[in-house]
């Protein structure tokens, strides 16, 4: 989804809406996956995902294509919404949340694959939140390194380095589980 959300002035509303609609359809599941990995709460993830798209829709006219891709912009909004949700939780009492079921898709897999993915899921749980976020942006949301860098507000090479470290740590954690 590389198309800008802005359009010619005369048909700006319709073209802008269409562009946003394409962005929404291509990113809905990715945004949910990323937010769910941050919050680890299905209900909260749904709430925050909806809020993020709502915010993005309201701000769609303020999107500046020169400052990055639409997906990076959208994930930046989703990230802020998720972090705000985490902040609210920090101020409130500990919430009882149902963790997202990471291994639900592996029921039909063979036993070895299921065990391996269970080990990966457990290793992922043990990562630092920032590392887990990097992996979520890369593999759950499917962002490129430059988009990850844009979302996190860091350099692209820095994002690549951090991601590499996170993957190494995840691999070591998987080895530990094994």
């Amino acid at each position: 989804m590389e198309q800008a959300l802005v359009a010619e002035a005369k048909d700006a509303p319709r073209a802008g809406d269409l562009a946003f609609d394409r962005l929404y359809r291509s990113s809905r599941d990715d945004v949910y996956a990323y937010v769910a990995s941050l919050l680890r709460d299905e209900a909260a993830a749904e709430e925050v995902t909806a809020a993020a798209f709502e915010r993005a829709y309201r701000k769609r006219n303020r999107f500046d294509p020169e400052r990055g891709e639409p997906r990076a912009w959208l994930f930046g909004i989703a990230r802020n919404a998720a972090l705000d949700e985490l902040r609210c939780r920090g101020r409130q009492a500990e919430l009882t949340a149902e963790p997202v079921d990471f291994d639900g898709a592996s029921l039909d897999e063979d036993v070895a694959q299921s065990e391996r993915r269970l080990a990966v899921a457990e290793a992922l749980e043990r990562l630092e939140p920032r590392e887990r976020e990097l992996i979520a942006l890369k593999f759950f949301a499917g962002l490129e390194n430059r988009e990850i860098a844009r979302v996190l507000g860091i350099g692209e090479s820095n994002a690549g380095t951090k991601l590499h470290r996170a993957m190494t740590k995840l691999r070591e954690a998987c080895d530990g589980n094994a």
């Binding site: 809905r28 996956a33 902040r87 976020e133």
Partner: protein
Amino acid sequence: METPRDDQLAEDLRALRPTPHPQFATELDKRAAAGFPRRSRLPRISFGRLRAVRPRRLLLPAAGLAAIAIAVTTAFVATNESKESEGGGGSLLSLTAPQAQESAPTTPPVETAGEEATAASGAASSNGASFSYDGSGRYSRSSDRLDNRSVERSAQIVLGADPADVAEDAAKVLEAVHAHNGIVMRSSTRQGAAGEAGARFELLIPSAKLNDALAALSAIDEVRSRHEATADITAPTVNVGELLQDSKARIDSLLGQLEGAETESEREAVEAELRQERRHRARLRAELQNLQRRAELSRVLLRIETGAAEEPSGGGAWGIDDALGDAGQIFAVAAAVAVVALAILGPIALIALLAWLTHRAWVRRERRRVLS
């Protein structure tokens, strides 16, 4: 179990990707199709509705309201200023009137019981004096008098007349003054051609009858101008009354000492002090009477003019110069109002900006910290 390779690890991670519940996805699709209608966890309030409006849409009504407020304030201030400038002559009159009153002949008070009673009765009839004499040698406050202010009033009237009518109008003036128990302090008349003939009167009219007297005087001939002014003299009246009370107490004390004096020298010393205090008391009483007279009698300056009426500076038909003058005045007032508004709104806006920046920095810091 072997360590997953990178591509296998990536594949496993993608397989672990959380997926939204179909029902949630359907609902979100509907909301997306509807343009994400705003929903709130909290009950919608008017402020929330206001926040939903784009800032640009709020800008125009806000600017309109600000412009209306500035225009109303400007008009209000300009109106007040014009009223004050109109009353400026009155203020001058009120400043000059006491001097004229002080120059009025006053009877030196003599310290006798009968005259004290006369002075007291004068005080009692005063229209605002705060002290009265109770007939037993004491000046006391009267509660009902404290409710009334001691106010000195003055007026200035200019009548226009034909040269042939000056004498007749002057007679009518005197008649009106006498009819209202007034006093003619000074008067002069001039006969002659238009512009030369005229008359001038300095009058003292009982304040209680001033309105009636002014109406009668205004009815004599064409009124070219009429100004009235007031000055509150309650404070000096109260002050002199209190000093008078103190002086009376001091005299009573000295009289007691005089009765108890045993030697001739002691008696003479007390008598000397008593004489001095009585002179002081007489001065105070005269001052009080003068103040009471200023409240009781209003000074009226009346002139009878002949010939064309004097046009005040800038007078006549309203023209371009007047329009430019008025426009300049309105512009000056508007600029002053804008400066005052800026002086008020500037710091408020600065504080709001600082608060917003602080809040934003705090939110960013908290977001960074929440993942730590």
